[in-house]
Symmetry: C2
Subunit: 624 residues, 2 copies
């Protein structure tokens, strides 16, 4: 294997011992897992034993960029964080963009592995080859924007980039995320893991550059990538203009924009109030991640009292769904304010909004009373309640403590059948896309290693009708097991590992991306891949992640959907009458496991499949 | 006159024409006015004709640093902004520190003169010798912290420094200030002047250095300055630790911490709730301006609902007075939140708090009703009302529109004798220090060119008993006219012109500062001064400022105090029974004018005095 002298570097930081150690990234690991999510899951499986408390010092957080990060390739300032999720007890994986990833790579690192627990609130600075564990008394308790600025001031370096938790992470909310700039490594509660380690922030500044193994091949492949971006019918013409909000129109037109805790898909769609036109009217500018020509992020400004003057980067489509749809709030200013507040508090917008919608339905059903809420009216549509609950969740005040760990934990504490209204899979709150009207999404939600996670195997075939590797009818269950598997693997291979922004990968790279990424890998690293080998990385990572979950006790029975989606059809609109019955789900799962080469009874990978993927040691570890 | 080749540079920016023009700073101007406030008032008098609308395009804003800014001298990253005040129609002058001043100087400029009015919202960037007038659609409407960050992102330069207005300035609130970093060029409504010019922000980045004319003399004088800092009994031992809050203890012990719209001096002092110990408990760290060894600024964090997690730099003593004392709010978290909110909205904290206290008293007296407030309860002590009113003032919502221009304008609109409760001088709301128990402060408030402005001639002799150039009994009126004159001139000469932070100047430089500043001027610029000539600069600037006001129609009758302070004695506490009667005030004013060599009847400078100060042309301009 010619590798052009490619060497990766890991920085291992132990908070208990206050030590920093550089390690080489083993070449086989680099080859087989590429970077990002792949590296994270590899280290997680190998180093974090089964059954540990996700909020204990044994858990680890692996921040990993990809081999493309820091090059001149567009949409590659991207980073994955991986750990055992306190929300699901499964693999917790989240990605963000911004500027931090490039800074980390330029500091010389492909990954940080954070271990142990600091004895007091701490932040870490990494610059000029020096790692320091710093007292974070000056930033503990701060919201994320202030935290980033005060650290820059404290280090007298306005160019250093900071990833941090907010009050939610400090209070160990299992909905806590990690924020860098305006970007969230959201969902799965990895912010709480950071909080449990007494780690408020990581600040990093780099001044190195990324070596290119073969400049000519790199330049050629880069041109192919840029051409693919240009040729995409949606990336520049639609997505660059509207951002992720373009999904708002698509899902409302298909009748799969879910609302009011999934009771109102198709019915509650105040398009005039919170739809794309309304959002465009609130847009004051665009912004983007480091070096990205797409710049999909919108800057939105609330324009009416009492939210006037509140800026948010976003709200992204999924936040429209959670703070708009799920809560029944049709006040776009309030949605903008909630988006900003969630970012400041370090709360995942999807899970937080779904949890608030859940509480609102429980209030409607009488399962939460005025006594529980401290007299606050939390009926659907109350934007005041939405904002108040967000804050209370981050600080665990009053009913906020009950809701701070998401719908599954809250339903368990409430009892009385509340779990019927808890819209989650494996503990992770459902994202948008009513899967009853988009079945491949249903299979992905049910099987993704991180729970109900639209980003692990998004099916653009069903939403945007592109690209079409299989014939797809979004309402049919036929072929959806295979399609979900294909989507999961390709998204992992083309987006989450290299690391390329998944928006751009989904919109521009699905058709020829494997070829392009293979050539880019050779150009950047000297490692030679066939397109099939690139896709195989995606499959390998999904198998390894599944193996982690199996080791934690997950089985086929956990690959399911909330009862509501299997028994209550969509009440009206273009997808009226649709549901995914248990039988439908089981048929799709059978197809999915078969496509994966997994055990149909247990849902576990087989020794044969693992060996075929070159990770036979995993079969040994699982005792297969 | 040897000047070591000293040359200063002015950048004149015309928003109407979108032109930028560099001019030399005339050497005589540099010598006679030094910099900062001196330069500002010189250009204001010479270039802004009498009677113009302060919010019209004829008004100008002069941002001026001093000759020491950008050197290695401590506490000199300081900048004055000068214009005709829309709040007082007199000279409007405000100073701030932070990092912007050094950046402006390093960009090569001693002053910016902003003229005209942009035809649409604009911001200006100055870097690498390039000036650009930029569309500010992306930041118009933003709060000040967001504005600064978005501009840094927009210019792809995290090291650029930004001075900007918030929503209050955009809405032409006459209480609007200009914010750089966490610092306010407060009071006198110069933020509204910036707003009236459609100028949201100025961003500046410099990479030059400041020439030193005589390094040996400079080094020697710098050591003297540092020694004076060290020898001060308060600067490091008290002020560096507590910040401006140290005045809280002094004023409450003397019974001159005024409260509840000046009805309760001495009575309302919830020392336990908002005093120094309480503030220290909320302090999470310290910070300071560029290169300052004192670092007096405190970072305070609100710790209780609903303000939990709100950070402010401060609150400074004057903000404790306005959002604590004047409103009767004894909730320190709310005071911290109000401090932050005011900074974000770009509202002056002193004037805003006094205006809210005024509204609260009017509510108590029945001059404002529930109908006026939209049903909001605005009784003294309501922290909810304080926060709500602040926001409403910045956006001119509801009763906020009535209050947005301060107490004088509001009282005129309300009528019914409301002016009796309007605590202002020349339109500027009163700062802390109940002058009834500190008479030199009373003379300064009555005569300062910018209205009731503690920073134009602070009398530390009365509050801290130091230094003692005259015998002082704070309760006596004897010698207070002369003392006020001395304080005004020395503060202008040692702090506002060179520019040195007035906290450090007051605490460390009053006794030998004129000698030190004279030697520093020679070291830095080559311009040779005697100590008397340095002090004479202060007198010259105060005369020129007074001349500007005379030209605008101000006379002795405007040098007065609110009726309340002349008729209602302090009700209790260590200063019980004190007031400044009209007779007392007149006696002190006579002494003041005599010391100044001004006309006792009109309060105007005489031709003789102006000529003696080398600004005889001013007498011509005034037709004296």
């Amino acid at each position: 294997m010619y590798c052009g002298g490619y060497t990766g570097k890991i920085l291992r930081l132990n908070l208990t011992e206050r030590t920093a150690r550089e390690e080489s990234l083993p070449l086989e690991t680099a080859r087989d897992f590429i970077g990002g999510t792949g590296l994270g899951i590899k280290y997680l499986f190998d180093e974090v034993p089964a059954g540990i408390d996700p909020l204990g010092p044994e858990n680890k957080l692996i921040f990993a960029v990809g081999p493309f990060t820091g090059t001149t390739l567009p949409a590659t300032s991207r980073m994955a964080v991986t750990g055992k999720s306190p929300l699901t007890n499964a693999v917790g994986s989240a990605l963000s963009g911004g500027y931090f990833p490039v800074e980390l790579k330029r500091a010389g690192y492909d990954a940080l592995i954070i271990e142990g627990k600091a004895d007091k609130p701490t932040y870490i600075s990494i610059r000029e080859g020096m790692v320091r564990f710093r007292d974070s008394a000056k930033v503990w308790g701060l919201k994320t924007t202030d935290c980033q600025q005060i650290i820059k001031d404290d280090l007298n370096d306005q160019n250093i980039r900071v990833a941090c938790i907010g009050p939610a992470g400090e209070h160990l909310s299992k909905l806590a995320c990690i924020i860098n700039e305006y970007r969230a490594m959201g969902r799965k509660g990895l912010g709480a893991v950071m909080g449990s380690k007494n780690l408020k922030a990581i600040a990093v500044r780099g001044n190195g550059s990324v070596a290119i193994a073969d400049q000519e091949k790199y330049d050629h492949a880069r041109k192919e990538m840029l051409a693919a971006f240009k040729e995409s019918p949606v990336l520049y013409p639609v997505f660059s203009k509207l951002g992720s909000s373009c999904a708002f129109t698509a899902t409302t037109e298909l009748g799969i924009f879910s609302a009011r805790n999934w009771t109102a898909t198709g019915a509650f769609v105040p398009i005039k109030e919170i739809g794309v036109d309304a959002q465009e009217a609130q847009k004051i500018g665009k912004t983007g991640c480091f070096g990205c020509p797409v710049a999909c992020a919108r800057l939105s400004l609330a324009k009416n009292a009492p939210y006037t003057g509140t800026l948010s980067e976003g709200p992204e489509f999924e936040t429209q769904y959670s703070f708009g749809g799920q809560t029944g709030v049709d006040n776009l200013d309030a949605i903008i304010a909630a988006d900003r507040l969630a970012d400041e508090l370090g709360l995942d917008t999807i899970s937080a909004g779904v949890t608030i919608g859940f509480a609102m339905e429980l209030s409607e059903k009488g399962l939460l009373t005025s006594g529980d809420t401290g007299g606050m009216d939390i009926t659907f549509g109350s934007h005041q309640a939405m904002l108040a609950l967000l804050r209370m969740m981050a600080y665990r005040e009053g009913i906020g403590d009950l809701l701070a760990d998401g719908v599954k934990a809250a339903a368990q504490r409430i009892g009385n059948g509340a779990d019927r209204y808890a819209m989650h899979i494996k503990g992770l709150e459902l994202p948008a896309y009513d899967v009853r009207g988009a079945k491949a999404h249903g299979v992905n939600y049910a099987t993704a290693y991180s729970g109900a996670d639209h980003n692990r195997g998004y099916a653009p075939q069903e939403i945007f009708g592109m690209p079409i590797p299989y014939a797809v009818d979004r309402l049919s269950i036929e072929g959806k097991g295979k399609l979900a598997k294909w989507n999961q693997d390709i998204q992992t291979a083309l987006a989450d590992c290299p690391t390329i922004c998944s928006f751009t990968a989904l919109m521009a790279l699905l058709e020829h991306g494997a070829e392009i990424v293979a050539r880019l890998m050779e150009g950047v690293t000297g490692l030679v891949y066939t397109p099939e080998e690139i896709l195989r990385v995606g499959e390998r990572v999904n198998n390894l992640a599944r193996a982690f979950n199996v080791r934690e006790g997950f089985t086929r029975k956990d690959d399911t959907l909330p009862e509501r989606l299997m028994t209550e059809p969509i009440p009206d609109g273009p997808s009226k009458g649709q549901l995914i019955s248990k039988e439908d789900l089981n048929r799709m799962l059978d197809e999915y496991y078969t496509a994966r080469g997994w055990n149909l009874t247990t849902g576990a990978p087989t020794r044969g499949k693992l060996t075929e993927l070159g990770i036979g040691y995993v079969a040994d570890a699982l005792g297969l």
